[in-house]
C-alpha cells in the first residue's frame, strides 16, 4: 500500500453549460508531490475541471476534494492551499512588478512583516528580481508568464493549478518553465497542469490524465499509462560497441533482458542503437539498466522514447472533424 496521500480527489465529476456536458463522470486522483498533466483537445473539459478544483465553478454533480476537504463546503480553506494560474494571465499593467505581487500577497492575507520577504523570494525563484520596479506592461510574454507563476507561489500554496502554462512561450521560455516546475516539485509542491504540448508533459509529468469530450479516457502514472495503452514503453539503449555485430547484441540482450520485446538494432555512427518495448515501471527499468551495465555492456545511452505520449494521445482522442 502506498504511503503517498492524494492532494486532489475527484469522483464522478459532472458539469454542464446549459445542455452541453463539458465534463461527464470524471474521476481521478492527484498524488501529493506529483506533477499531474491533464491532456486533451480543445473543449475536452480541462479548464472546466481545473476551475471546479479552484472553487470557481459549482459542479453539476460529483465530489471534488483537496486534501480531504470538499470544494463545496470548505472553499475558503481550499483557496488558501491552491495557487491558480489561468490560461489567460490577465495582469494589471499599470502596476509595478512588486506592487502587483504585493496586491495578491494582501489578498491572501500575508502579514506586512512577511510580505516583502515573500515577494523577494518568489521574484528570485522565477528570476525576475531585476524587474522588481519595472511596470508589468513592460514585461515580455515569457516574463509575464513567470510573474503569473510568482503570483501563484506568493502564499506558499501546497498545490499549483496551472492551465496551459506553456502556451505562447518560445522554446527557451518553455525549457525554463520545465526547469522551474521540476524545482517546485522538488520543493514539495503538487502540480496539476493542463497543456497541449505533449513533449513538455512527457518530460516533466509523473502522472497524466487524458480527457476527451468530457470523459477521462485514461489516467495514472506515466509509466502505467504507457504500459497499459501502448503495449509497453519504448526504450532506446545505446551501446558503444561499433565493432560488435548487431546479431550478437540481440542475443546478449535476449539473455540479459528477456522483458525487452521486439528488439531492433541499428547502427548510428559509432554506436548501436537498440530499440525495444518493455512493460516495466520506473524502478524495474532502473534495475534493467543496472543489470546491463553489470553484465559489462558499454551502455552510453538509456532513455525512453518521449513521443510515446503522442501515440497514446492520438489513440484516445478523436479527430476534431468527424
Amino acid at each position: 500500500m502506498s504511503d503517498v496521500r492524494d492532494a486532489v480527489t475527484i469522483r464522478h465529476l459532472r458539469h454542464r453549460y446549459g445542455r452541453f456536458p463539458a465534463v461527464d463522470d470524471v474521476s481521478f486522483d492527484v498524488p501529493e508531490g506529483s506533477i499531474f498533466g491533464l491532456i486533451g483537445p480543445n473543449g475536452a473539459g480541462k479548464t472546466t475541471t481545473l476551475r471546479v478544483i479552484c472553487t470557481l465553478l459549482v459542479p453539476s454533480s460529483g465530489e471534488v476534494e483537496v486534501f480531504g476537504q470538499s470544494v463545496l463546503t470548505a472553499p475558503r480553506a481550499i483557496r488558501r492551499q491552491l495557487g491558480y494560474m489561468p490560461d489567460t494571465f490577465g495582469l494589471y499593467g499599470e502596476l509595478r512588478v512588486w506592487e502587483y505581487l504585493d496586491f495578491f500577497a494582501r489578498c491572501y492575507g500575508l502579514a506586512a512583516e512577511t510580505r516583502d520577504a515573500a515577494i523577494r523570494d518568489t521574484l528570485d525563484l522565477v528570476d525576475l528580481a531585476a524587474k522588481r520596479d519595472g511596470y508589468v506592461r513592460g514585461l515580455s510574454r515569457g516574463m509575464v508568464q513567470r510573474l503569473a507563476l510568482a503570483r501563484t507561489l506568493l502564499h506558499d500554496p501546497t498545490i499549483l493549478v496551472l492551465d496551459e502554462p506553456a502556451t505562447g512561450l518560445d522554446p527557451r521560455a518553455r525549457i525554463e518553465l520545465r526547469q522551474l516546475l521540476r524545482e517546485l516539485q522538488r520543493l514539495g509542491k503538487t502540480i496539476l497542469l493542463s497543456s497541449h504540448i505533449l513533449a513538455d508533459l512527457a518530460e516533466i509529468c509523473s502522472h497524466i490524465g487524458i480527457l476527451e469530450r468530457g470523459h477521462l479516457a485514461v489516467q495514472g502514472s506515466l509509466a502505467e499509462v504507457l504500459n497499459q495503452v501502448a503495449g509497453g514503453r519504448t526504450v532506446i539503449i545505446e551501446l558503444l560497441t561499433a565493432d560488435t555485430p548487431p546479431l550478437n547484441v540481440e542475443e546478449r540482450l535476449a539473455g540479459l533482458a528477456p522483458e525487452l520485446q521486439n528488439v531492433s538494432v541499428t547502427r548510428e555512427g559509432g554506436r548501436l542503437q537498440c530499440r525495444g518495448q518493455v512493460q516495466l515501471d520506473d524502478p524495474a527499468l532502473a534495475a534493467l539498466l543496472t543489470r546491463l551495465v553489470a553484465a559489462g555492456l558499454p551502455v552510453v545511452g538509456f532513455r525512453e522514447q518521449s513521443s510515446d505520449l503522442e501515440d497514446v494521445f492520438m489513440r484516445h482522442t478523436g479527430p476534431l472533424v468527424a
Binding site: 472553487t55 470557481l56 472553499p75 491558480y84 490577465g90 499599470e94 502596476l95 491572501y108 492575507g109
Partner: protein, 297 residues
Amino acid sequence: MSIQLNPLIVRELRGGLRSGRRVVLLSCCLVIIGVVFLGVYAATSATLVSGSSGGSYAVGSAFFPMVVGVELFFVCVMTPAQTAGAIVNERERQTYDVLLATPLTPRQIVLGKLVSSLAYMVLVLVAAVPIESLAFLMGGVDPAELVLASLLLLGTLLFFGSFGLWASATFRGSRAATAVAYALCGLLTIGLPVLALFVAPLIGSIALSYPTLTDQPPPWLVYTGEMLAATNPWLTAALTEAQLRGGYPLFWMHQTLGKTNVDLPGVWLVFLALYAAGSAACLHAAAGAVRRRRVGT
C-alpha cells in the same frame, strides 16, 4: 494585531490614481469651479465696490449654491462611469478569475471596489474645498449649509456609485453596465422632474375636480410627495436651501396644507434615508452577484 487595508483600495491608490488622464480630468473640474467663482464674482462685483459688507455676503451666498450645484453635476456625470466598470473591467481584462481564486470574500471585493472607485470622486470634491472656502471668507454661508451640502453630495455619490457597482457585477459587458448605471442616474436627475412637468397639470386638473384634495389633502399624499421630491438630488438641494434660507427647523417642519396639519421630516433627511437604503440594497445585490460567480463565500 495590525489592521489591513482592503487590498483593492491599495491597488487602486497605487495604480488607478497614477493615470495622467485622471490628473487632467481633476484639473478640468477645478478650472470649471474656478470659472464659476469668477463668473459669480464678476456678476456681483458692483455690490462689492460700494464697500458694504452686504456686498461680499451676496457673493458668498450666491457662489456657494452654485459651486455645490457644479459639484453635484460632476458627481452625477462621473460617478456611474467610475463604478460601472469596476468589476466588469476585471472580467474584460481577464483578471476576475484570479481575484475570485483568492480568499477575499464577495463583501470585501465589493466594498474594496466601491471605495477605490469613489476615491477619485472624493478627491475631486476635496480638491474643490479651497475654492469653496472662498465663500466662507466672504460670508453669507451658514456652517449648516456646508454640512448639509456635503451630506447631499456624499449621499448621491454613494448611491450612484453603489448602483453602478451592482450593474458592474451583474452585466457581462462594460457597455451594458455603464448604460444601465447612467439610465438610473438620468431617470432620477432628469427623468422624474421632466415626468413631473407633464403629470403636474394632469394632477392639478384632477385636484380641481376633487376639492377635498386641495382643501384637506390626506397625509399619505403629502408624505408621498415629499418622498418623490427626495428621490431627486437637485430638488432636494433646492428645497433644503429654501428651508435654510427661510429659517425653518432643520429636522422636522410643521406644515399646514389646507386643513391638514402634518409634521414632515426635512427633505434632506428623507433623501439620505432613501439613498442610504438604496446603496445598501445595491451593495448587497452586487455581493450576491460576485458570490454566484464561484463556490461558497
